[in-house]
Amino acid sequence: MLRMSATIVGMILAVPVKGDNIMAVTTRSGRTYQPTDLTTAKRRDFIEEARVGVARLRNSDGETLVALPERDLNALVELRDHALAFLSLENAMSRAREDRRSTDFGELAWATVLDDDDLAEFRAEFADGLASALAERSVARLDKTIHAWRLTSDLLRDPVAMARVNAGVDEDDVEVSSPTEIANEPAV
């Protein structure tokens, strides 16, 4: 029975043998393995190719499977999700503001509170973030950008808090002492 290390190989994906509409991948050797190769010493090469990028395996039905590191697969899935969200944003922004519904923004429905200038800035940062994520195979920085905009939308929905942004200190404000100092103050 073939045993493969889950820590090395993430998942085997089925891809069309002659598919033109999938992401191009390059194996280190350009080789496509056969199932029988995995019962011989060639399986080490297969696993090593999967570990450093993509390894291809053609099964008996002629379908090609690929193995790649799980982190790369996760990044691709996350990129797909973010790309779909970006398309929703583009779609929503293509409509006149008065015709937009929050559902047009999909999972970015919170963005409806952003005005047109902020939306344009958000869109530009999102596009840059997607490009960087593709290059880096990581959505971590893009996630931080989206998170910051999400937090921004939360505050924009709070008129009391927004009234305090850039406002001066007034008589309603009180100083906050260090919690430690407060705790150490002698009881009166």
């Binding site: 800035e121 937090l151 921004t152 305090r164 260090s178 430690t180």
Partner: protein, 99 residues
């Protein structure tokens, strides 16, 4: 901080625990423009969060184990009752709900 937020601040202290709130206070008091030693700070986005007249952009601090606080800081604030220039951190809102 506005008097109206005092109850929320007390809730934050009780929910987050003394140590986490002390870290927040140290961050705001000594290095509001730096990354915190613990917790996380995010500078908010867009035109409405831009600082004016010396105020920083609006920053958002996530309190470990509790809610969030939004603030601005001003290194040379000359307004208020004191009149002289001094550094000020202004809390714009406290949110203790889970995110």
């Amino acid at each position: 901080m506005s008097k109206s937020m005092w109850k929320q601040w007390e809730n934050a202290v009780s929910q987050a625990g003394d140590q986490n709130v002390q870290q927040l206070w140290d961050h705001l008091a000594y290095r509001p423009d730096q990354l915190p030693l613990l917790g996380s700070v995010t500078r908010l986005k867009g035109g409405h969060m831009k600082g004016k007249e010396g105020w920083s952009d609006v920053h958002h601090y996530e309190i470990t184990g509790a809610g969030r606080i939004n603030y601005q800081f001003h290194p040379d604030y000359a307004g208020g009752a004191q009149g002289d220039k001094h550094a000020v951190v202004k809390v714009t809102s406290i949110d203790m709900s889970s995110h």
